[in-house]
């Protein structure tokens, strides 16, 4: 099995630690991982802003980079959801469809494909997990509080395999953090207020770290935490599952 590693643009540029942890974790679990060097972005920033018609270049490049792999894995629910729902290429529709079927968000790849039952990781801290909306409601990574349906959580089940970790409960289990792509700047006031409230829920319950499957939500919350001078850190879930931060 060869997995094509898709590292979204902003993770590549600003959070290489999360990408390295994803790579190391997959390798630790015996997966042959390849990172195609010519990858850029999934195209979501344009599409969610109403400019899906400008994503042709990104779509073509994505298909060129990833069509040949058995699976495509990315440490981002949001970008995966975009590829799953919106990638299209009129010149090669079968390839576009196969890419959208093969792509997995990291934690769902670990639980659904690799069927991981244990992890050699230790992280003795109080951790709050942020349920990113696109991963949760879009990719069904965990149950949604609005629905009358049994509870499950793919990222939660993986975090519970980590030795010493203490997952905190939140007042609002799956409220949006307010990042929302270009929403974070176009609707700055509401976006920041949502982020402040989301962070406050974690802080109130004693989080030392806030984690999640989407670096974009975490980046937004990190910006707010740092502005507040908080000592609470954000970490992508791959970094915790890989045994802690900065372990290249």
């Amino acid at each position: 099995m060869t997995v094509g590693l898709f590292i979204p643009c902003y993770v590549d540029q600003f959070y290489p630690g999360a990408a390295i942890a994803t790579l190391q974790l997959l390798e630790k679990l015996g997966v042959n991982v390849v990172y195609p060097a010519n990858q850029t972005c999934c195209g979501q920033p344009m599409a969610n802003s109403g400019f899906e018609h400008l994503t042709g270049g990104c779509n073509e490049l994505f298909i060129k980079n990833f069509a040949e792999f058995d699976y495509i894995v990315a440490p981002s629910g949001s970008c995966v959801l975009h590829i799953k729902h919106h990638i299209h290429d009129e010149k090669q529709p079968e390839k576009a469809a196969s890419v959208s079927h093969k792509i997995y968000e990291l934690t769902s790849f670990l639980t659904d494909v690799l069927k991981v039952t244990s992890l050699p990781a230790k992280f003795p801290h109080k951790v709050g997990m942020h349920q990113s909306c696109h991963g949760q409601r879009g990719l069904h990574l965990s149950q949604m509080t609005e629905l009358v349906a049994p509870y499950y959580s793919k990222p939660g089940s993986l975090l519970n395999m980590v030795e010493g970790i203490e997952l905190i409960e939140l007042n609002r289990a799956d409220e949006c953090c307010g990042f929302g792509g270009t929403f974070c700047v176009a609707e700055e006031a509401v976006s920041v207020k949502m982020g402040k409230d989301r962070v406050a829920d974690h802080l109130k319950h004693g989080a030392e770290y806030i984690t999640g499957v989407d670096m974009s939500c975490l980046m937004h919350m990190e910006g707010i935490l740092n502005r507040q001078g908080s000592k609470v850190k954000i970490l992508h879930i791959a970094e915790i599952l890989n045994g802690g931060p900065l372990n290249p």
């Binding site: 109403g50 899906e52 920041v192």
Partner: protein, 474 residues
Amino acid sequence: MSQNITTHTDKKLPLQGAGGADHAALADIFNKDEDRVNWHDETLWWIRAKRDLSVHKIPEWEALRDTASAIKNNVLSNLNSYLQQFEANAQANGIVIHWAADGAEHNAIVHSLIKKHNVTRMVKSKSMLTEELHLNEYLAENGIDVIDSDLGERIVQLAKEPPSHIVLPCIHKKKEEIGELFHQFLGTPAGNADPQFLTETARHHLRETFLSRKVALTGVNFAIAETGEFVVCTNEGNADMGAHLSDIHIASMGIEKIIPERKHLGVFLRLLTRSATGQPITTYSSHFSKPRDGQEMHIIIVDNGRTVQLGREDFRNSLKCIRCGACMNTCPVYRRSGGHSYHNAISGPIGAILAPNLDMEKYADLPFASTLCGSCSNVCPVKIDIHDQLYKWRQVIVQNGYAPTAKKLSMQAMATTLASPFAYHMAGKAGRLVMKYAPFALNNKLNPWYKQRDMPKPPDESFGEWYKKNRKAP
């Protein structure tokens, strides 16, 4: 009391935003008072939590939603025949049916009915359709005095504001502000904000209204094709009070309010109030099937853009809406921006997919007032794909040329850069260097990210650069 109250000019403030301010700008103003935002958010979240408790008591909740959605699918596919069936049955019951293509026609019909009876006053029970059609303003201009009889509606009417929520029209007002309004208009003592006292005062004030109005207008929650009757749901019984005491009862309904058979009503009544407020059922679900002796009953069936929306394949589902307001209560953006920021009669996520159908240019901002978190679609009792429609509206709005030029240019530049690995790597490196060595270029007030958030700390190398050094290139 309150016989001589003179608030009847009824000239509501124009909806905010009509002058050009968009959702972001109006939300920015709302957010200047953070305590108020907190209060608004917590109040609506409390209702969302009540809704959760209430729906979790029904194990078949998701099946009920599926059923309701399927019934509405059938209705939307056979709207013409159900409407004709309804018309024939209602007429057989002695109800007069009117058809209105738009607000102007609807309002003219209402006015002519009032004029015919030679009165100048009308009592109205909550009808968001008449808000959509600006009936109150129209009647006021024609010298007709309208009193909204729903308590929340009455409060915003006194404040000369449009409702900020379709079910909880004055949810944006604190009880102290309501006390002040009542002091000003209903003569209550200054500083009294006791909800019990204020409600009692309003009840007395409205009772006078019911007793003295000859014409009553109500909305329609459900119109049943099979029987030609209609159902109005209220918690205060105000629709009944108005309709039962009037000589003429006018009911205004959108064409989408039809359900095929009486047996379908049970599905919707179970869903409606649990979704809206967490109540098992509305206090009053009043069936009106024919006028009582000596009374006239009229139904005005209104299109006002609905058939256009029906013809838009991606958006037709929005016509399933039963106006419960659950999407507003759950929407994290609505809770923190307030209903008026949507500058449309129907606010929140559902309003943001209905409004652009009415005026794409004026409401071009609304589909962007969302993080696409999807909570709205999950609470929707009739399973409208609200957040997917928001995404689709964004595409339609841009395709129709309603995107600001600056945004268009930046998106084009971004698309070009991201389509080229070389340009992407150069831009990424340049960006990180600027952040590292010239942070003032970004850490300033021109950058909306930086205003209340720190920028991410740029790493020395990107993952791509790290990979090249540490792993063999494929």
